[in-house]
Subunit: 342 residues, 3 copies
Amino acid sequence: MKYVENAWYVAGWSSEFTDQPLKVTLLETELVMYRLTDGSVCALRDLCPHKLLPLSMGRVEGDTIQCGYHGTVFNATGHCVRVPGQEIIPKRQCVDTYPVFEQHNIVWVWMGDAALADTDTVFDLPQFNDSNWQAHQGDALHIESNYLNVAENLVDPAHVSFVHPTTLGNAQSEDVPVHVNTDSEQITAWRWIRDAPPVGFFKQLGGFKGHVDRWHYYYLHMPSTAVIDFGSADASLAIAEADREQGMRIFALHFLTPVNATHTIDRWMHIRNRAIDDASIGDRMNELFRIAFDEDKVILEAIQQQETRIAESDNPGPVPLRLAIDKGPNEYRKRIEHLLHG
Amino acid sequence: MKYVENAWYVAGWSSEFTDQPLKVTLLETELVMYRLTDGSVCALRDLCPHKLLPLSMGRVEGDTIQCGYHGTVFNATGHCVRVPGQEIIPKRQCVDTYPVFEQHNIVWVWMGDAALADTDTVFDLPQFNDSNWQAHQGDALHIESNYLNVAENLVDPAHVSFVHPTTLGNAQSEDVPVHVNTDSEQITAWRWIRDAPPVGFFKQLGGFKGHVDRWHYYYLHMPSTAVIDFGSADASLAIAEADREQGMRIFALHFLTPVNATHTIDRWMHIRNRAIDDASIGDRMNELFRIAFDEDKVILEAIQQQETRIAESDNPGPVPLRLAIDKGPNEYRKRIEHLLHG
Amino acid sequence: MKYVENAWYVAGWSSEFTDQPLKVTLLETELVMYRLTDGSVCALRDLCPHKLLPLSMGRVEGDTIQCGYHGTVFNATGHCVRVPGQEIIPKRQCVDTYPVFEQHNIVWVWMGDAALADTDTVFDLPQFNDSNWQAHQGDALHIESNYLNVAENLVDPAHVSFVHPTTLGNAQSEDVPVHVNTDSEQITAWRWIRDAPPVGFFKQLGGFKGHVDRWHYYYLHMPSTAVIDFGSADASLAIAEADREQGMRIFALHFLTPVNATHTIDRWMHIRNRAIDDASIGDRMNELFRIAFDEDKVILEAIQQQETRIAESDNPGPVPLRLAIDKGPNEYRKRIEHLLHG
């Protein structure tokens, strides 16, 4: 399938990269990535042009990587510097390389035209550098579903009451309308559930006794980074929308890596404004996130199975029907189409 | 592939259906089925038109079923009665439904034009309601083969000596010619093996000491229900063909459900005129049937593998060669072709 | 895919063939093979023309084989000699047969035009019948890779230093140039590594203390038989190329059977001029060969995965880049192309 190539994608957490070759697949393209002697990370196409053996099956020597079949050696800019047994190195014996950027313990790769790779456009959030906030890493969740299905789910507050009834949602929000704003770079969908019992997450981790005001703000950045700003505050405070800081506030971040048409990696983490010195709270949050995101995974994989089944069938199958509650997902699909086909 | 749609197909034994959603696949179409509060069974297309999640992953509430993704609710006639978070329900937010009929602990579904669904045409046998006969349920045998291969096997007495030498056949029948009648709605193939040792089945369950007259009548009803009337009587009685009642007589019933082009469910059971109050005899019969039908399964799956292999090959492959002993199967294929293409 | 059909292919070691039916797949064609009462081996297409059941699921009776479905009987020339239940046997009820030749405990089958099957062209080596040499059978190694990839690897001395650093190669040979001769029926690639430490194989089995002269001669016979003449001699002897007999000399034989486009069986064995009465030495050699050939298998299967991935992708993928060290493999591909397309 076609992907948005001129974009930064997450290749992994920083901890995944060492001086050993690591195969990473993005947009159906296999890369081999490793750390150079200066500590930076490089990315080469994971394919020796000679016999097509993945370079990740070879070995890193200093800043170079040697193919495991005939010992051909490439440097980090993709140039071949040695062919054992022959003196002339053909020009075509070279491999593609990709811009890499590392920040906040996250490694990004630019998959399109290298001349357009601007590191200023890599996703960032001021709270990463704010000592009143604590970042806490989660997992790399593999989901057998197209990244478009996964991304849609992350700008869709309407599913929370039904898919996550014990953690992130409850019956009080079932019919609360969703607001959507499509005026800026990111798509925003949000709603407030005022003066209702806290959901499981905040009951367990927020220590709320009575009713709370609860908010969910979904920000979807193109092509595949989602920020969910959610939290709760004591209902008696009746805080304004802009004063979410006064409650317990969490940014759940999702970095989606499209592996292929039916496989996405969702690397998730959070940043919070409470218990910032207590790592155990972060771990307990992750436990609840795991429950919730596994609930999404089941749904998203079932949908993919239907889409695949319909696509492989001889008969033209049904296409998803868009409802009013899909304003955010609809805008997202439209923007992706625009990025792909102008 | 194309199937005969205007027909009743077995969706399951009655015991399989409860007030929980059950996914049932017929003719490559996935249905969700459940019992309504009045005890009857309904069948809906197992696909929420919104995001294509199978409705069987949601939950039944009274007579309705709620999608597990966004909480959309459908009633048993396929109409959407609620979309949480929005007031207007689009007309296209509805699902197909299918006529269902339950009789003799068997649930049938009509897969074609509902206006043509006539419950008088559902397969029946007078012995179901005759107190001199006892019905006994068998298994739901999954066979990885096209239903046409399975059905052919059930109007084909010639294979019995070779595939079932220890249970339903023996060497005495190897060269006994087969009669075939194609004059009525069902195709009939039959033969008598007179004055020969009993086969394993009747040796074990009929208590015959000396030679017997043995008969096999295969009745194949379109598109996929088979009745095998088989039995034995003491050879000294020399019974007439019409007097099979005087021997030990069994109707083995096979209800074939085409799941997809390479997967068929064979739900089998029997009705017998001996030991009708002794359920243990029915269980012992089932044990022998299991041995015999597993022998068929091995053959039918091997044939399917060849057919699939040939179909997927670049080279045009061999097509099965029809012999004189195939008169029943040939007529069956011809009738299916006629039902499909007129 | 297309294969060279007018050629002898190894169907198995002699020990694999008995009076029981054996399914053997060559060039995507399934054969059933068994020994006749005179001890010779026959090969029939493994497909009853009636219902396409593999004949290998039936049973051998004397020189004939009976189908397991309807009892049809075929003789070793492929003619049907019995159809139970009917008297006339249709002419088309027959199966293809294939010429078979057995020699040196190896069974060969000719897959093309039987009129061209000349047993004088079956691969042979004088050492098979020479009492100064000892033949020792190895394994049937299944490799999930196209036979062209496997065969290339067997006329490619350049990979040995990198793929087999602990057994058949070492760093001393990395940059030693390869000679290639394409003037005769077989393609020959060879090199000598003079006055260097022995490789693991000869260190363990040759008892060499000091430096040796080591040779590798790769002979590739069309379409898929490889002979590797390799050995070592004390460097102080400074033997001539023609005097390899004076050292420890081994012929490693590889008989490649193309099963299908991504599956090859490599039946390998060796003939040696040392320790010819000590079978345990042969076994120890096999242990080292197993290590080395498993190293090839990993590489060849990874390459096949890339080729398959590229072939199934929507985007035109890279094609292997030929280097100067590929002179042998290049010639091989050219000759195969010529055999296929003239």
